[in-house]
């Protein structure tokens, strides 16, 4: 089974894509409208540059090649909610093409393209005989992300969307209801021919619609039938997909370039835009680039993105082993304390530098880091640390098996940690104890 998605994401601009109408919730239908988004004769689009910036950010996030020059096209089709009967979208040279996005950090999902376009208005059925149209949504900017058919199951498609939305939210500050505003066209083929289920809203419905199609297409094939290439829609209430039109009636949109907007050379703009890395992506990158366990990377990032940044700084300057030893160790252990008293992570760097150059010992470095982060004096700390280290050392002297067990499974340290915690009765934080126990065990390996 192959599944490919076309995902529409609303971009969080303050004003619409081609006019200055607000994008916020309107008090009543057809109140956030003007000649441009109503498509009145003589009106003209003016591009909101922020839309291009968001498009570039998402293209970068998806690993796409950002176009040097991009422009807009007219897609012509007749529907009452499309005020000009022409949608301004991108056809040739979209903002980004040819990306890869890793599902769960592992499975590559190829991204065909990402383009930006305007949303149509909304039609609302009133009774049997009539519909009303609300153009408040007309001209709201969207990004459309198109994937290759690299997803294998409906559940995977849902997982992919969940991860994608969380990443997008991080990169472009999508509002909290981002998930609700996600709309998807889902392409699915069990056999050779594919069907497209148009305009499915929300993650759960995507999974439901795809599952329905999976079952339907499988049944058709098992019965010796042929799946017809067609466009279908999803009935949310009944949980079924319904045929809308066959392939031979697919619309020909007659794309031409949008002459009112011209071309945009976005090479320099794209170079100047740096995107915020999502926590997941940072975790995966740290694990990959510094060859550390994904669990450790995740722990660093979850504690704080700044902690992970300190890790990178130290790893780059003094090597990964020092970063693991110090940043994942005592710096991480004292992080909350440091944040609480408003310290800065840069304070720990001198100690690590001096350790790396051989000026100070393990124990001295650990103490200096703690002093720098907690603001305690070396003397008081010296005594306390000495006490803590003595207790641990004494215990390990009596139980050498822990050290050898630890080499096989680091859970062996738990016994020592439990003992020390009990002995010291809350004098040291658990993070401190854990860090010290592990450090001393590791120095004996």
């Amino acid at each position: 089974m192959k599944i490919g998605l076309e995902i529409h994401v609303q971009l969080p601009t303050k004003s619409k894509m081609f006019c200055s109408c607000p994008t916020t919730d309107a008090p009543a239908p057809n109140t956030h409208v003007c000649p441009t988004c109503l498509g009145m004769p003589g009106s003209r689009p003016v591009l909101n540059r922020k839309v291009l910036e968001y498009g570039i950010m998402l293209a970068k996030m998806l690993g796409c090649k950002v176009a040097d020059t991009t422009w807009f096209s007219r897609k012509t089709y007749f529907y009452p909610d499309m005020s000009k009967s022409v949608q301004i979208t991108q056809y040739d040279n979209p903002v980004g093409e040819g990306g890869v996005y890793y599902l769960g950090g592992k499975k590559p999902i190829r991204i065909t393209r990402i383009h930006i376009e305007e949303d149509p208005g909304k039609t609302k059925r009133v009774g049997d005989q009539s519909s009303l149209v609300d153009y408040n949504r007309s001209g709201i900017p969207l990004a459309e992300i198109v994937t290759e058919p690299d997803l294998s199951t409906p559940a995977e498609a849902r997982e992919f969307l969940g991860q994608l939305i969380s990443d997008i939210r991080h990169v472009i500050d999508l509002p909290g209801d981002g998930e609700r505003s996600i709309r998807c066209d889902c392409n699915i083929s069990v056999g050779k021919e594919r069907c497209e289920v148009k305009n499915v809203t929300g993650l759960k419905n995507v999974e439901r619609a795809l599952t329905y199609e999976l079952v339907r297409q499988t049944k058709v094939l098992k019965a010796g039938g042929k799946v017809e290439r067609e466009t279908r829609r999803f009935d949310e209430e009944r949980g079924v997909t319904i045929s809308v039109r066959k392939k031979e009636f697919e619309a020909d949109y007659g794309y031409i370039d949008e002459p009112d907007l011209g071309m945009y050379n976005i090479k320099e703009l794209a170079e100047s835009i740096k995107i915020k890395e999502s926590p997941l992506q940072m975790t995966l990158r740290l694990a990959r680039d510094y060859e550390i366990d994904q669990k450790m990377a995740k722990q660093l990032v979850t504690t704080s993105v700044s902690l992970a940044e300190v890790f990178e700084t130290v790893a780059k300057q003094y090597g990964t082993p020092n970063a693991v030893k110090w940043v994942a160790g005592p710096v991480s252990a004292n992080w909350k304390h440091m944040e609480a008293r408003g310290g800065t992570p840069e304070d720990v760097l001198p100690a690590i530098a001096r350790f790396a150059s051989g000026e100070i010992t393990d124990t001295e470095c650990a103490m200096e880091i703690k002093c720098a982060m907690t603001g305690e004096s070396m003397e008081s700390l010296g005594n306390a640390t000495g006490d803590l280290e003595n207790i641990i050392s004494g215990y390990l002297d009596e139980n050498p098996g822990i050290v050898s067990d630890y080499a096989k499974n680091d859970k062996a340290a738990n016994k020592a940690i439990g003992y020390v915690m009990k002995q010291t009765g809350g004098k040291y934080s658990s993070a401190e104890v854990v860090e010290a126990v592990k450090r001393i065990i590791e120095s004996r390996l």
Binding site: L38, G42, S43, R44, S85, D260
Partner: protein, 441 residues
């Protein structure tokens, strides 16, 4: 200056010549000057139909930037001028509304598609009219009605408020019986307008006088002329030489390709522009609402679009269909570049390219009714190249035929070089004896 005009006289003149579709309700006698505007430029609170039945009743909520700037300058908008539906024509006869009559002979056409504008410029004293050119719609009627007409460089005047024909080709310009009005009013309307991004790349308009030194006459541009046009043009060339201007004949092979490319681009764009007229939201909305929306749209468009609009929608839809798009639309975009390059090549050594504006004088209405669509498309072969290239161009009256009808010649200058055309018109006006039509109202 006060305006010497009454509504009574305006109406009487309009009854004879039919230049206006909509008119002001009263005369603003305190205005600085009078002007009119082609009916595809939106005017606040004055009906704007672009010559189409489908827009009857459309009262825009905003002024086109060009009209707004003329009003700010003290202009009184007398009326909105009749035209071919959406600009689709050469004689203003493809109108869903009224067809303007040539002030030199009311049995003849004004030319098009800014026919009403040329008519108003010829008939009213001290009057200037805004026209719009897509493929020659300013120069053609200027030539037929014996007035000066200029379409500036594409992007010089904001198109905000222009009801689009072909957005990559449409240019707003000026028609007037006085040469000096070209410079004066293009200056009023020109300049960047944030509401039209394509107006925002223009360099500033130059205004120091710059007389023309040399013109290039393309051999391809003097083929197929009527005897009257040929002899008037040749006389004009002699006059230009006397004025000290070099005249050189050149080859300009791209002129032959300009017309097919123009009709592909213009109709491709037009067919998408006209998609919005479906009997909802504005203009004509009398249709059978019990129909399904697509049946309603189809019946509405079938009823209210004219034949030429339908023809161009069909042509333009065909040329951008999947499978044909590359053969026609994409190819036409390439041809446009070839035409531009050809102008650049010739204008590197000359101030302007010069040819007659139209191959014949204003035809009689009964003759026009016998012409095929192709015949009338072909009549535009001299005005189309400059339009597809987006270069500024100007028709000046240069003689009269044996039938007494005006004849014009068209100068084409390089992009953004309107100044050399302004000066040419002003120099020419001193030499040429312009005949105004007799208006006995």
């Amino acid at each position: 200056m006060s305006i010497d005009m009454t509504m009574e006289r305006m109406r009487a003149i309009n009854d004879r010549y039919l230049m206006f579709h909509a008119m002001a309700e009263s005369v603003d006698t305190d205005a600085g000057f009078t002007f009119s505007a082609k009916d595809n430029l939106t005017s606040k609170d004055m009906e704007t139909c672009a010559g189409s039945k489908i827009l009857i009743g459309y009262k825009p909520v905003f002024d086109a930037t060009s009209i707004a700037r003329m009003r700010e300058e003290g202009g009184f908008l007398m009326g909105k001028t009749n035209m071919d539906e959406f600009g689709f024509g050469t004689f203003s006869t493809n109108s869903g509304l009224e067809v303007p009559r040539n002030p030199h002979d009311v049995e003849r056409a004004c030319g098009g598609s800014s026919g009403g504008s040329a008519c108003a410029a010829a008939v009213f004293e001290d009057h200037v009219s805004l026209g719009v050119s897509t493929g020659g719609s300013i120069c053609c009627p200027a030539s037929f009605c014996g007035v000066y007409g200029m379409a500036p460089t594409y992007g010089r005047v904001s198109r905000y408020g222009l009801i689009d024909y072909g957005n990559s080709l449409d240019k707003i310009g000026i028609l007037s019986a006085k040469a000096g009005d070209l410079r004066r009013y293009i200056n009023v309307m020109a300049g960047k307008d944030p509401k039209d991004p394509t107006s925002c790349v223009q360099p500033e308009l130059k205004n120091e006088e710059r007389s023309m030194k040399s013109v290039a006459v393309p051999k391809e541009g003097i083929e197929g002329l009527s005897k009257d046009v040929e002899s008037a043009f040749n006389n004009a060339l002699e006059d230009l030489k006397r004025m000290g201007i070099d005249v050189e004949y050149v080859d300009m092979p791209s002129l032959r390709f300009a017309m097919p490319a123009y009709y592909v681009l213009a109709t491709s764009e037009a067919s998408t522009n006209l998609a919005r007229y479906v009997g909802m939201r504005y203009g004509q909305q009398e249709g059978d609402l019990s129909l399904k929306f697509d049946d309603y749209f189809s019946s509405f468009r079938s009823e209210y679009f004219g034949d030429e609009a339908k023809r161009r929608i069909l042509l333009g839809t065909y040329t951008r269909m999947a499978g044909f798009r590359d053969r026609y639309y994409a190819k036409a975009l390439q041809v446009r570049k070839v035409v531009i390059d050809d102008y650049k090549r010739i204008l590197a050594d000359h101030d302007a390219v010069l040819a007659p504006t139209m191959p014949f004088t204003a035809p009689r209405f009964d003759d026009i009714s016998k012409m095929s669509a192709l015949d009338s498309y072909k009549a535009d072969y001299l005005t189309i190249p400059a339009n597809i290239a987006g270069t500024p161009h100007m028709s000046v009256p240069c003689g009269y035929g044996s039938d007494g009808m005006p004849i014009g010649m068209q100068f084409v200058a390089d992009h953004w070089d309107e100044n050399v055309l302004f000066t040419m018109a002003e120099d020419w006006e001193k030499e040429f004896d312009l005949r105004r039509p007799e208006v006995t109202i």
